[in-house]
């Protein structure tokens, strides 16, 4: 059975649908890229997959082995209050919390995993710094490290490359590919079509209704893809 099965789902706010008739499934080990124009409902879909929002109609089924505590998540926007006193290390570690269960403190291996993830994303030197005093891209890396810490089986990333410099972006795609090769399922919202076509195994293109879902090889030859990647110009 698929890890996540989305059955004729409609999404929206206050009863007004934004995306209708969504049908797709994600299998273990897949790398799904969700693409589409601004406001097409990608972030809404991510929130719904995470159980933070209800569907208007339809059904999302999770395979029985998948628990909420095995999911890592990078939101598109994180509202952190001004002056929130929190060091980078504290935030990254908080990603490990879902592995704690009822144990009140972090284990040695969790702490090691946290510093490993900080190293991977090049923020090890920042570990004692205050989050609020970092640059936008640095903050994004901190939240990515936190998401990696929380990931056991599935990771959902909402525009992970936003605000990152080119070097870190490429590095990030490599890291995600690596964990995907380790068997972790990846669902990513991205506007970076080139990277999506390079790394993903499946593409979901939505624009108020699903325009395409399937393997990326099949996507590449559709009209939808050509129009979208060429900036909407008709050929």
């Amino acid at each position: 059975m698929a890890l996540i099965n989305v059955n004729d789902v409609s999404l929206g706010y206050e009863g007004k649908p934004i995306v209708k008739n969504l049908n797709f499934s994600v299998n273990k080990g897949d790398y799904l890229c969700i693409v589409g124009e601004n406001g097409s409902g990608k972030s809404t879909l991510m929130k719904t997959l995470l159980g933070q929002k209800n569907v208007l109609s339809g059904k999302i089924e999770y395979s029985e082995g998948l628990k909420q505590t095995e999911i890592g998540y990078l939101p598109q926007q994180t509202e952190v209050q001004k002056d929130f006193p929190a060091s980078v290390k504290e935030i990254v570690l908080s990603g490990c919390l879902n592995g704690c269960g009822i144990r009140p403190f972090y284990s040695k291996s969790q702490k090691a995993a946290a510093s490993e993830n900080m190293k991977k994303l090049g923020i090890a030197e920042l570990s004692a710094r205050c989050y609020r005093e970092l640059s936008g891209g640095q903050q994004q890396r901190v939240l990515l490290a936190r998401a990696l810490c929380a990931t056991k089986k599935l990771i959902l990333l909402d525009e992970p490359a936003a605000g990152l410099d080119p070097v870190v972006t490429q590095n990030l795609y490599k890291i995600i590919k690596e964990i995907n090769d380790d068997g972790i399922t990846v669902i990513m919202v991205s506007h970076d079509m080139e990277a999506a076509m390079k790394y993903a195994s499946h593409i979901l293109h939505i624009c108020h209704k699903p325009l395409f879902f399937g393997k990326k090889e099949d996507y590449a030859v559709t009209d939808v893809c050509c129009q979208f990647t060429d900036g909407g110009e008709e050929k």
């Binding site: 006193p85 879902n98 009140p104 972090y106």
Partner: protein
């Protein structure tokens, strides 16, 4: 003066007051950081008024204040928190409504039913806690000890979860932390601390005990743990200073402690400004 102080320490009521004062200040500061950061400062204030109303009811019924005030305040805390997380109802208006409502009804009840000849004196005591901390009995202190021990234990055991929920509730709940349970727990603990703190500073001044140490610590420190620890230290120092000054000079305990907290806040703000510049 030192001699006079040592003289006072031989009285049990001074020992009781200091013990209770330190413990309550400690709890209030621990919790205060989360409450301030979660934008729940007003809930603390509202709850203190509810506690006042509850104590008025207890006085009228002739029941022990704590046994009535504790459950009522806990229930109010859970309700207020529920209102606040429901985005459809304006949270701050609801809190203001409950808090002034409880205050008015409490005073009304006391005025109509109280057997005491000095109603306004009683009310003043409950609101500003003028002397009650100095009249604690041994049972009061033991109850206070037990409750603060529970609060501190809960805080230590759930420290990381409280941090996660305070910093980013969406992420915490998306990755499987039961944020609702944690929030409810924070609300209940807040209610307990507020009822305890009524003894120390009175209903109207409790918020100061919760908010000032957290804000002072945040002027200087930049990580969650250091803010929590330093706010606890600041709060305890201010409580001890306040109580001692109050005993020596006969000033009202609650307002003296709050004055000490304000002084600490000013010092920390100054210190934060200087250290930023250099």
């Amino acid at each position: 003066m030192i001699e006079q102080l040592f003289n006072y320490f031989s009285y049990p009521f001074v020992k009781y007051a200091l013990t209770a004062g330190v413990l309550i200040a400690l709890c209030a500061a621990l919790l205060g950081v989360s409450l301030v950061l979660k934008r729940y400062s007003m809930i603390g204030d509202g709850l203190s008024h509810v506690a006042f109303g509850a104590i008025a009811v207890a006085t009228v019924c002739g029941a022990a204040p704590m046994t009535v005030a504790l459950p009522i305040t806990v229930v109010a805390a859970v309700i207020l928190l529920g209102i606040n997380s429901n985005k459809k109802i304006k949270g701050d208006a609801a809190i203001a409504m409950i808090s002034v409502g409880a205050l008015a009804l409490g005073y009304l009840l006391l005025n109509i039913f109280s057997a005491s000849s000095n109603v306004s004196g009683d009310v003043c005591t409950t609101l500003f806690g003028s002397t009650s901390i100095l009249t604690l009995s041994k049972t009061d202190v033991i109850l206070c000890l037990a409750l603060t021990a529970v609060v501190i234990l809960v805080f230590v055991l759930f420290y990381h979860k409280i941090f996660a929920v305070t910093f980013d509730e969406t992420f915490a709940s998306a990755t499987g932390t039961n944020t609702k349970a944690i929030n409810t727990m924070i609300a209940i603990v807040t209610a307990v601390v507020i009822v305890l703190a009524m003894n120390l500073v009175g209903a109207l001044l409790i918020s100061a005990l919760i908010i000032f140490p957290a804000l002072s610590a945040m002027r200087i420190f930049k990580s969650f743990l250091s803010v929590i620890i330093s706010s606890a230290v600041i709060s305890v120092i201010c409580a001890v200073t306040g109580i001692l000054i109050a005993i020596l000079y006969g000033t009202p305990v609650g307002s003296t402690i709050v004055a000490a907290d304000i002084a600490a806040f000013l010092i920390c703000t100054l210190f934060g400004k200087i250290s930023k510049r250099s």
